[in-house]
């Protein structure tokens, strides 16, 4: 592979994966904060306000990093992938520009109003602000996923003037890939928010303070919403898997490391352990049906697009799929255990189980990241599936040295931000709920 292609891809991977650490929590925790704010608005109870603002502070810290790392993504398509932008800008630019006009402005303006307008705005309008922020983050996800879905499954365009031109906006926004991807991403984000709240609450309950009842309430709510989230993740994931099997059979085969076409096709649990006919069940909901293997697909691709290697890096996709599903199963188990303990047995959580919940915060993050690695690495060698190879998409006028410099600089800044955010989050969690009623502001906060 060309060095410049490799460097540009690496930079895209670093900046995008890093950005997507913060995005799901913005959506997921945003939902929780909005719910707590609503409760506090309804009851007018100071205790409710304290816990709402505690989660709000964590939300803001996370939001800030999400926003600043998002700017890079908006420009990167032109900076590193100028051939790509030229080729698909007519189509791809549309959802990106709409995202800015419909979502980013709402998100940033009303977030400012929510943070600084608490004592200025009427209470109902202040509450509406946080719901608008949450809604805007969901709307933002719609448009960026429409853009991504075009890369996965190009629709609504014609090939004209040496580039892809948009001809059918409706087809673009009802891309079947998008319709299956969106619920999966959003329910994943809800799980991220839920496990974050569960883990932090578990920590605070274990630590023991006068606010334990508040965190127990948070815990229970996150448990219920998280359970709904995980069920939806599994269900939408199943549908998305079927959609990938249909739209991108090569990605699907690579995910399962299925070399030869089989009917019925077995499911590989881990290398060497197989469940007969299970893959056919996943695709067709019945124990028979043909699933194409990589070798046959490679031949078909060669026939259609000429000689070349059309198989994506198999071990990355295969491994990532197992990480994603494994983490989701672990999440489901943790939630079932908590539900069993708290709801059925009506007993408080085990102290050791609470520690487990703290580590559980990492599970949705691993699953989200692995999921995107499957989606993006599994699409290779294409940047736009079947339309444009990744190696042809890179900027021609940008030197290796420039990309090396930017990759290094972004990595250093991102690492520093990760450390600082982690320290500040931990401190904020340690400090817990603040007493707002005393009238003495926290030192120059």
């Amino acid at each position: 592979m060309d060095e410049i292609v490799f460097l540009s891809r690496l930079q895209f991977a670093v900046t995008t994966i890093y950005h997507f650490i913060f995005v799901p929590l913005t959506i997921g925790l945003g939902l929780f904060v909005a719910i707590w704010e609503t409760e506090s608005y309804r009851s007018g109870n100071l205790e409710d306000e304290r816990i709402a603002r505690f989660w709000g502070r964590l939300f803001l810290l996370n939001f800030a990093v999400g926003v600043v790392t998002g700017i890079v993504l908006e420009f990167q398509f032109g900076m590193n992938w100028s051939e790509y932008s030229r080729f698909v800008g007519d189509v791809f630019g549309v959802p990106l520009a709409i995202e800015g006009l419909l979502a980013f402005f709402v998100e940033s303006t009303f977030l400012g109003l929510w943070i600084f307008g608490r004592s200025i705005l009427p209470k109902a309008i202040h509450l509406a602000c946080i719901w608008l922020v949450f809604a805007a983050s969901c709307i933002s996800a719609i448009w960026i996923l429409i853009a991504n879905s075009f890369m996965q499954n190009p629709v609504g365009y014609v090939f004209n003037n040496g580039r892809a031109e948009l001809t059918d906006f409706l087809a673009l926004i009802t891309n079947p890939y998008f319709l299956h991807q969106y619920p999966h991403v959003i329910s994943g984000a809800v799980c991220t928010g839920a496990f974050f709240v569960l883990g932090v609450s578990a920590w605070k309950i274990r630590e023991g303070s006068k606010d334990v009842p508040l965190f127990e309430k948070s815990f229970k709510r996150a448990m219920l919403i998280g359970f709904i989230g995980v069920v939806l993740v599994a269900f939408s994931g199943h549908l998305q898997g079927q959609s990938v099997a249909k739209l991108q059979p090569m990605k699907f085969a690579a995910m399962e490391n299925l070399k030869e076409t089989a009917d019925p096709a077995p499911l590989s649990i881990l290398p060497g352990i197989e469940m007969p006919a299970m893959l056919s069940v996943m695709v067709y909901n019945k124990p028979s049906g043909e699933v194409k293997g990589m070798n046959e697909l490679q031949k078909a691709f060669e026939y259609r697009y000429g000689p070349g290697d059309y198989i994506p890096p198999v071990w990355i996709t295969y491994l990532s799929f197992r990480v994603m599903v494994g983490c989701s199963i672990a999440m489901m188990c943790i939630l079932l255990y908590s539900l069993f303990r708290l709801v059925l047995m009506q007993k408080p959580m085990h102290k050791k189980a609470l520690i487990l919940m703290v580590f559980g915060i990492s599970l949705p993050y691993l699953a989200n990241t692995a999921g995107w690695i499957i989606a993006e690495v599994g699409r290779q060698p294409w940047i736009v599936y079947g339309l444009m190879p990744t190696e042809k998409a890179v900027s021609v006028g940008v030197s290796n040295g420039s990309v090396m410099f930017s990759l290094f600089a972004f990595s250093v800044i991102y690492a520093a931000m990760a450390v600082i955010t982690f320290i500040l989050m931990r401190r904020e969690i340690y400090r817990g709920c603040v007493d707002h009623s005393s009238g003495i502001p926290r030192r120059a906060a």
């Binding site: 032109g78 200025i120 906060a445």
Partner: protein, 326 residues
């Protein structure tokens, strides 16, 4: 007006929005470090832009997104040609943006000083480099077949650097006037004193820019007239009107740049045939029509709620009340 020209104008409008709004918050970002004597005072200055800076920055994001949607070739060529300056701009914006959120959580005065320096440095670099980028658009960059053929040093010629200084000076003036209008007491007075010096420097720089202007000196003269008018208004204490004049001056400067480029969107310094034009860089008619509808519906709404947000926070800030608890 054809859709291509409409979008050329609309992208100019988005850049005006960015240069005006983020202009004063870049200015404030730099000024707080020099006008504030301790971390409380610096915090008060920063508080004037806290609710707004993020919304202001979205104008930049949307200008980028709109360039990609309406003029993919322009977006691709411009952003890849200015690769290194843009990397620095992005780093500056990242550091600056995240520091706003870190600052009020930092416990030690020294940590806050570091934050304030980071905000000032980020604002300074971004302001300077946006000026450099705009000046490069005016004089053209070495581009052949849509690909950059020069080096970093082709982008930092004296003329471009002058553009950077001009931009910086305009933003500082804008920021100082904004603070004069937003803050009370001693801190306001300091900002006001600074704005008087800054605006005279800016008038001087604009005069040079008008002499150096490549084309369309009439619009450049308008910018010069507006900034000179603002200077006179400042000395007569008509601060609100002066602020509006600076805003109009920002708009007319961007207009001057875009008029000078038209019908090119990116001037190639290699040969005129290599320049990208409004016509050959644009998207298809379908995309432009679609985006026109979206923009016609949403841009007025955006302007409405952003204005409302400035109205909500219209009250002058006294240093005592500048600390909000999140």
């Amino acid at each position: 007006m054809s859709l291509e020209v409409l979008w050329f104008v609309l992208i100019a409008v988005l850049w005006v929005g960015f240069f005006f709004l983020e202009g004063f918050d870049f200015g404030v970002g730099i000024l707080q470090l020099f006008l504030g004597k301790n971390e409380r005072e610096r915090g008060t200055y920063i508080f004037a832009i806290s609710p707004h800076w993020d919304g202001n920055e979205v104008w930049l994001l949307t200008a980028g997104g709109a360039m990609l949607a309406a003029f993919p070739l322009w977006y691709a060529t411009f952003f890849s040609a200015l690769y290194l300056p843009l990397v620095i701009v992005l780093l500056a914006l990242i550091v600056r943006g995240v520091t706003f959120e870190i600052r009020h959580r930092a416990d030690f005065p020294r940590a806050r000083l570091v934050c304030d320096i980071a905000i000032a440095a980020g604002s300074f670099l971004a302001a300077l480099l946006f000026g450099v980028a705009m000046a490069n658009m005016a004089i053209g960059i070495p581009v052949e077949n849509g690909n950059f053929t020069g080096t970093f040093f082709d982008l930092v010629k004296p003329y471009a650097l002058f553009g950077g200084v001009l931009c910086l000076s305009l933003f500082l003036t804008n920021g100082a006037l904004f603070l004069t209008l937003k803050i009370e007491g001693e801190l306001q007075l300091r900002a006001f004193k600074f704005s008087k010096i800054a605006i005279i420097v800016t008038v001087f720089l604009f005069a040079i820019a008008t002499i150096l202007a490549v084309k369309y000196t009439i619009i450049c003269l308008l910018s010069l007239a507006l900034i000179s008018g603002a200077a006179i208004l400042v000395t007569k204490h008509y601060l609100r009107t002066a602020f509006i004049c600076v805003a109009l001056c920002t708009a007319s400067s961007v207009a001057a740049l875009f008029c000078a480029m038209y019908p090119n969107v990116l001037v190639s310094s290699v040969s005129p045939e290599q320049s990208l034009t409004v016509w050959n860089a644009a998207s298809s008619a379908y995309t432009l029509k679609l985006m026109s509808i979206v923009a016609a519906v949403f841009v007025p709404i955006i302007i409405a709620y952003q204005s409302w947000s400035y109205y909500v926070f219209r009250k002058r800030i006294s240093p005592r009340k500048a600390n909000v608890e999140v």
